[in-house]
Structure formats: structure tokens, C-alpha cells
Amino acid sequence: MIEVKDLCKNYGSNKAVDNISFSAENGEILGFLGPNGAGKSTTMNIITGFLSATSGQVLINGTDVLEDPVEAKKNIGYLPEIPPLYPDMTVDEYLNFVYDLKKCKLPKRSHLGEICDLSRISDVRKRVIRNLSKGYRQRVGLAQALVGNPKVLILDEPTVGLDPKQIIEIRTLIKKLGKNHTVILSSHILPEVQAVCDKIAVINNGHLIADDTAENLSHSLAHENKIIVQIDGPLKEVKQLLTAISDVESIYERKTADKSITEYEISSKCDIRREIFKRMSARNYPILLMKSSELTLEEIFLKLTTGDFYGENGGEE
């Protein structure tokens, strides 16, 4: 498991990572989400001991990365943003080197064979890395992280450069690995995080602004029973009809491109979709669109990472 406590990293006066704390248990996949330059890679580099923190603590299975780096690093498999490959080696030579480097004790031949099968690079094992395509390089990088079967996997944007079929394969693989490993993966691709991760940590400007499951995030940010409807009918009358529904709390209307159609955002105490339908159909005003305004991950992300939400939550900058 991984525990990150009050992590800070300053580059001069610039705070790349500001007071981040989170943890991931064994068998958990934590998605690290944030726009470019948010501090994802920096945080991952600190967790793996590549960079040191200005302050704060990282524990890998209870071992402090700074205090006992060699022991802590034994438990980490790391795929950095750019896979750390030596272009002049063949895949086989490279994996053998990593095997020796990590002082791995598992039976060499079968272990490396297994990893190559998992990451689907068995057919390029004899080829020189320089000549491999981006997708293959990415997968060799992933294979490298798996050598030695470390308990903690840190994957920085693992699906970059892969084609859609490979992306699905790698996601399936990560999900499978997540059952008995602790996995942290970073991404700015939202559906990916949604598809793979149990928990999501959203990071922006070096601040951790959310750390929860995808559903909880969506719930906590979306207002209960808020729906958006588009109705073709005279504004005044439609609004009157809507206000007459007993549980409605507030209505905002917006003009759309078509003058006769208005969009209404309705908050209510309970589900009023049927009631709206009945009333509108009685007057023959067609409902053109009706959707719950429960936020998608994309909207959560935008909401969290744009200034207004950040301001509301007491950011200091």
C-alpha cells in the first residue's frame, strides 16, 4: 500500500506540489487526474524516489522512500511518462537488464516470459527497441515495470500512444493487476480513469482538490434532482405550468438558438419528470430534451479544475 502525507515540492518559489495527502490500499486502483502541468508526474516521481520532496512523507508498504530507498524501491514498479528504454538493446536484453537491476529472485525465463505474454510483446522480444513503434515501446515500458512482480505499480499515462484496441487490452491488464497490487495511474483521459479506477484523486495547480470514488464525486457535486428540459412553447405559459408543480424549488430559463424553444433548469425535491410530461402533453407543448444534470466525470473535472470551484474551497493563491 501507499501512503502520502503532506507532500510538498517547491521549484524555487513555484509550488509544484502543495500539501497533498492520500493513500491507496492493496487491491486498489487509484486514478490520478489533472490537467497538464498539474503536478501529477512530479508527485509520481516523488513517490518512486526519483525526486525528493521539499517536505512530507511517502510510505511504501510502511517503508519511507527517503529513509530506506533501496528497500522501498524493491516494492515499486514504475512506468514514467516517457518509457525509460535503451534504444540500442533488444527487448530481451533490456528486460534481462531490468531483471538484474532489480535484483529479482523469481525464475528468470518463466517470469520474463509471463510478463511478455501479459503485456503482449512476446513477438518482438528479439527486436531492437530503436525500431519499435510507439505502442510497442509503451508496452515494453509497462513490462519493465512488472519485472519482479512489485506490490506497488506507478503508471504515468500508461495508454499514451496506443491504438484503441491496445488501450482496451492495457486497461483490462491494469484492472487484472489491480486485484492483487496497489496501482496508481495518472491520466488526463477521463473515460479511462472512470473505466479502470476504484478511486479518483483530482489534482490541479499542485493541490489535491478531490479524492473519492467516481460515484461519490459525481453525487457530491451534482445537486439532487436537477433536470434540464427543452420545451417548444410560449415561455410565460410554460413557466407558469412548471412552477405549478408542487415540488419545484427553482426554475432558470435560457434561450436557445431556436426562438420558440426555451431551456429550463429545474431543481426539485423529488423526481418530477412524469409530471412535466403530463402537463406539457396536455397543452401539446413538445418536450424536445430532458436530462438529469448529474455531472459526468468530464464535467466534474472541468468544475473542479476551473477557478471558481477552487476559489470556493478556500485556495490561498
Binding site: 518512486t48 526519483f50 524501491k73 514504475y78 538493446m89 531490468v98 537491476l101
Partner: protein
């Protein structure tokens, strides 16, 4: 450490670098052997070893230029620095890799020694092996120091070019101590500058003097540069 050393050696010999280094070493040492011994009819190899100082001053930086600079540029340092190997192990592995290539190339000097010895023996004289081993020890120690300097400079930059030119510059500067000292009138100061001179120390070896003092100088100077390399890498983590 062993894994890194093995990879370094493999890298030297899967790229032309290792072979080119050896070829240049052999070419120049052969040339100087011909000039100093064969055509001059002498069996004293001191001159050959002395000239090899200047050759190594320029070719060793080429051997070491990519050691750490290239790791940084290709981001492979993210693999080595996040693997369960100490910084000492990483730097030492790189040092030993380059040192191995240098040592293999320098073995040719022993072949020269043997052939000279055979030629001298046929003339009924004795080849001075004691002198030769004194020279050879000097060459190996000098190689170790230049490699350590090269690795240190390589750790300061991402560009192999700058690393090579930088270490050639440092190597030349280290030799210039001699020339500077001859211009210094104050004797104590001249003595201090002289005592730092690598070339001066190496020259004692080429005269066949194996002194413990000079050996300690080379070993500690090489260790100093390797230690500085470790510090540079460590410092980068805190940057």
C-alpha cells in the same frame, strides 16, 4: 552495480564507440612504439607511455561522454534511479564499464612489451620489465582518473557534445598546472601547483618510478570525482 556495469560494457560494444576507442588507442600506441622504440632502436617504452597520456586525454572523454548525460536525455535515469540500487552502485557501475573498455584497450601495451622483450632477448640483452610495470601502472591509474573526470562532467549536462568538450578542457587544464608552475616565481606556490599536476605525477611513472604517494594521489583524485558525481545526481533530486 554489476547489472549497470554489464549494460555499459554491452553498450560500448554494440555501438561503434568501444571499437573506435580501441582502434584509436592501438593506432596511436603503435605509431609511438614505432617512433620511440622500433625506429630508434631502443627498448625503453617510457616515451610511448608519455605520449599515450596526451592521446588518452582526448579519447577518454569521448568514451565517458554519454555515461550519465545520455541517461538523463533519454530519461533512462528514471529507471536506474527508481530501482533498488544505490547511487554509489550506479556511478561505480558506469565507472567500471568504461574502465573495462579502457583496460582491454591498454592490454596492447603488454603485447608491445612482450615483443620488445623478445627482440631484446634475441640480442642477448634484458628487457626491463620492472620499468614496464611501473609505466603500465601509471597508465591504468591515469585512465581511471580521466574516466572519473569524464563521468563527473557528463553528470553536469544532458548533451554528450558538451560533456566531451568539457572533459577534454578539464583534462588539458589539469596538465596546464605544470606549465603554470614554471612561471610562478614563489617556490612554495610553485610546489603546491606542481603537487596537483597530474602530468607531473604521471611522468614519474613513465620514468619507471612506482611510488605509493603518486598511486594514492591518482586513486584519491578519481574517488573525489566519482564522489562529486554522486553528489551532483543527488542534488538534482532536490532541485
Amino acid at each position: 552495480m554489476l547489472a549497470i556495469m554489464k549494460r555499459e560494457i554491452r553498450a560500448y560494444y554494440t555501438t561503434p564507440l568501444g571499437y573506435v576507442f580501441t582502434a584509436v588507442f592501438w593506432g596511436f600506441s603503435g605509431l609511438f612504439l614505432w617512433l620511440n622504440c622500433l625506429s630508434a632502436g631502443s627498448s625503453a617504452m617510457g616515451g610511448v607511455f608519455q605520449m599515450m597520456f596526451f592521446v588518452n586525454m582526448i579519447i577518454i572523454p569521448v568514451l565517458t561522454m554519454r555515461t550519465i548525460a545520455d541517461d538523463k536525455r533519454q530519461k533512462t535515469d528514471q529507471l536506474t534511479l527508481t530501482s533498488p540500487v544505490s547511487l554509489f552502485g550506479i556511478v561505480m557501475g558506469k565507472f567500471l564499464g568504461a574502465f573495462f573498455v579502457f583496460l582491454c584497450s591498454s592490454l596492447v601495451m603488454i603485447i608491445y612489451g612482450c615483443s620488445l622483450s623478445a627482440a631484446v632477448a634475441s640480442a642477448g640483452e634484458r628487457f626491463e620489465w620492472e620499468m614496464f610495470w611501473g609505466h603500465y601502472a601509471g597508465l591504468v591509474l591515469m585512465g581511471a582518473l580521466f574516466i572519473a573526470i569524464g563521468i563527473f562532467i557528463s553528470s553536469l549536462t544532458e548533451s554528450q557534445m558538451i560533456a566531451a568538450i568539457g572533459s577534454i578542457g578539464v583534462n588539458i587544464a589539469v596538465c596546464l598546472f605544470d606549465i603554470i608552475s614554471s612561471y610562478v616565481s614563489n617556490e612554495t606556490l610553485a610546489g603546491i601547483i606542481n603537487s596537483l599536476s597530474v602530468f607531473y605525477k604521471y611522468n614519474e611513472f613513465t620514468q619507471g618510478i612506482f611510488s605509493l604517494k603518486n598511486t594514492v594521489f591518482f586513486v584519491s583524485a578519481a574517488s573525489l570525482f566519482l564522489f562529486l558525481t554522486i553528489r551532483v545526481i543527488e542534488r538534482r533530486r532536490y532541485a
